[in-house]
Symmetry: C2
Subunit: 350 residues, 2 copies
DNA sequence: CTGAAAGCGCTAACAG
DNA sequence: CTGTTAGCGCTTTCAG
């Protein structure tokens, strides 16, 4: 009942535990780190002492010697946009694709006990902050999501020497290993499907053309059309949002009223396009067959349910996490990139 | 041109810089930490040496002595759900409200140079991992977003003694300071507005009733109705998603076909409700006036544009960040919570 | 299998 | 204004 019974202001250290258990710091350390070479009896004493003192390892001290933090960063890099209406953060988090990526990463990281810090980069300033954060050794590695072509971050990141993997194709400049889906093949599958449905007047709503993925899908679309001997390719650019898809559909329709097939570069935009079609009194798929891309939740929320190209986003993200973890553990040369194949998911819209 | 010219395998330390600059470690430390008490001439020499060696401070070593990491965590805690269709991560990131919170936090954190690690918690396991992460001293404090009533996390977090602030009301148990909007007042403003439009048959689409915010809005709705002498209150529960709103609207309509006013507890659900109304041939606001909640982007994407209750989400989040930073710096008793007032934003739907 | 001892890289008194 | 001197708490050889 003396002052000593008060909870210590200073958190317990390894030293404290060692004293209570009557062993050396080294032994406590072994127990904490689950080393097998400890006498069961001592192990018990140490565990009791840990319990009694409420000991929690100090991460900084540990990192200082191990040079590991046992955590990684997820870096999301977007191009700068200063317009309030579509602020960066809102866009990223509203995109269902992003949620799926996070889900896939966590599937691997969680069981491994590796926490993930999310870092957002959208201008020079935040980029500098991020690089400094990474270089100071706050994390052991990073997964980078970078959607726009002119992003300097992949290059800068690779120069830090920190283990890193890109989720998505880094605009050709493969300075880092990446995980990606074969976008062109996906577009081709969409077109092939529309053609098999006897559609010949096929248009497309694309994503922003400064995003490699959007470009690839358009390229695939064009090539597939050409392969079927179709030369006309009505196109409208969207911005990967639902509202943008609705708007692009209006433009497409006003210039090409006779379309009977449509490939939309994302389900979210397709959802918007479908709304426009409904309001114009066009029936799907009777008047115009529609194929989306992603196979996200949006595809199911569509009326009618959307036929779409599935990218195995979660699996890809999980693979990215595995590659990164492997790279961190092995400290070897960066692993090879891996390309996944998309699949056609047939529902009611085409 | 000897072996010594090779880039060092070992990153430069303060010691290296000191040697190159011909000063002591302490002086280099002072320069790195921008202490004013350094002779300009020496300062230059040190800066050159830093440049030459490519020195970057080691965060672990620094944290070990300062007991600070200069970073914080954003903890998002959701109730467990194991159904694939609505996986946790997808839900969180698809919610525009969340994006706004992050934006508001970053507004304060970025200029302060404080990185934010995003941590997701949705089950016992991830909760344990989170607490361990926090206790090991990975971050200096945490902002918690916890939307469901029975969440044990606020309590557990408060027991760690780590500085923390809750964004949103923690289900009454105010063990931690929080920042919140007056939900009931918001609901009252919506009802008052509908009544001023001569509507008397007013229904509501609520959020999940295990979420305090949703409950508060419903309570406010009931009280406001009562204040106007209206006793009937048609209600349907939604899940804060667009599809859920559309579905709730269908149920509401089938049981109460004569509604002429509607309060929806979120813009996203209102967007869905509007779609249902359109398909039923009901005109808004002529046949039924609709008021949403949030004033998110969804409100503008609505057809017609949605009259809604604006919560100053970004400002609230910014305030939460300020409270947290203050608490970390001052190491004082937790600050008081703060309540913000909502406002009515009149557009075309009511 | 266990303990002693040597740092990891940095900041913070404290003298000078 | 600058340098010296102690550690911060932990892991890790290396002997025993």
């Amino acid at each position: 009942m003396s002052v000593d019974d008060l909870r210590p202001v200073r958190p317990a250290t390894l030293e404290d535990v060692a004293r209570v258990a009557g062993v050396s710091r080294a032994t406590v350390s072994r127990v904490v780190n689950a080393r097998p070479t400890v006498d069961p009896a001592l192990r018990r004493k140490v565990q009791d002492a840990i319990e009694a003192t409420g000991y929690v390892p100090n991460q900084a001290a540990r990192s200082l010697v191990t040079r590991r933090t046992d955590s990684i960063a997820l870096v999301v890099s977007e191009r700068e946009r200063r317009d309030v209406a579509a602020s960066f953060v809102g866009r990223v988090f509203t995109d269902p694709h992003f949620g799926r990526v996070v889900g896939g990463l966590l599937e691997v990281l969680r069981p491994a006990g590796v926490p993930m810090a999310l870092m957002l980069v959208d201008d020079e300033d935040s980029r500098r902050q991020l690089l400094s954060y990474l270089r100071r050794g706050h994390v052991d590695g990073a997964v980078l999501i970078s959607s726009h072509a002119s992003d300097p971050l992949p290059q800068l990141l690779s120069e830090t020497g920190l283990p890193a993997v890109i989720a998505g194709n880094p605009a050709g400049s493969a300075t880092l290993p990446y995980v990606e889906v074969d976008q062109r093949a996906g577009a081709r599958m969409a077109v092939d499907h529309l053609v098999s449905l006897e559609r010949r007047r096929i248009g497309t709503i694309t994503g922003p053309q400064d995003m490699p993925a959007a470009r690839e899908r358009l390229t695939g679309f064009h090539r597939a059309l050409a392969a079927h001997g179709i030369s006309d390719a009505p196109t409208a650019e969207g911005d990967f949002t639902q509202a943008g898809g609705a708007e692009a559909m209006r433009r497409l329709l006003s210039e090409h009223p006779g379309l009977d097939g449509l490939f939309v570069a994302s389900d979210l935009m397709a959802q918007g396009a479908l709304l426009t079609l409904e309001r114009r009194g066009l029936r799907v798929p009777h008047d115009i067959a529609v194929v989306g891309f992603d196979d996200s939740e949006a595809a199911l929320a569509c009326e009618p349910p959307l036929t779409t190209i599935r990218q195995p986003v979660e699996e890809m993200a999980a693979e990215a996490a595995r590659l990164l973890l492997g790279q961190i553990t092995a400290r070897e040369a960066p692993p090879a990139s891996s390309i996944f194949r998309p699949t056609l998911v047939e529902r009611a819209s085409a």
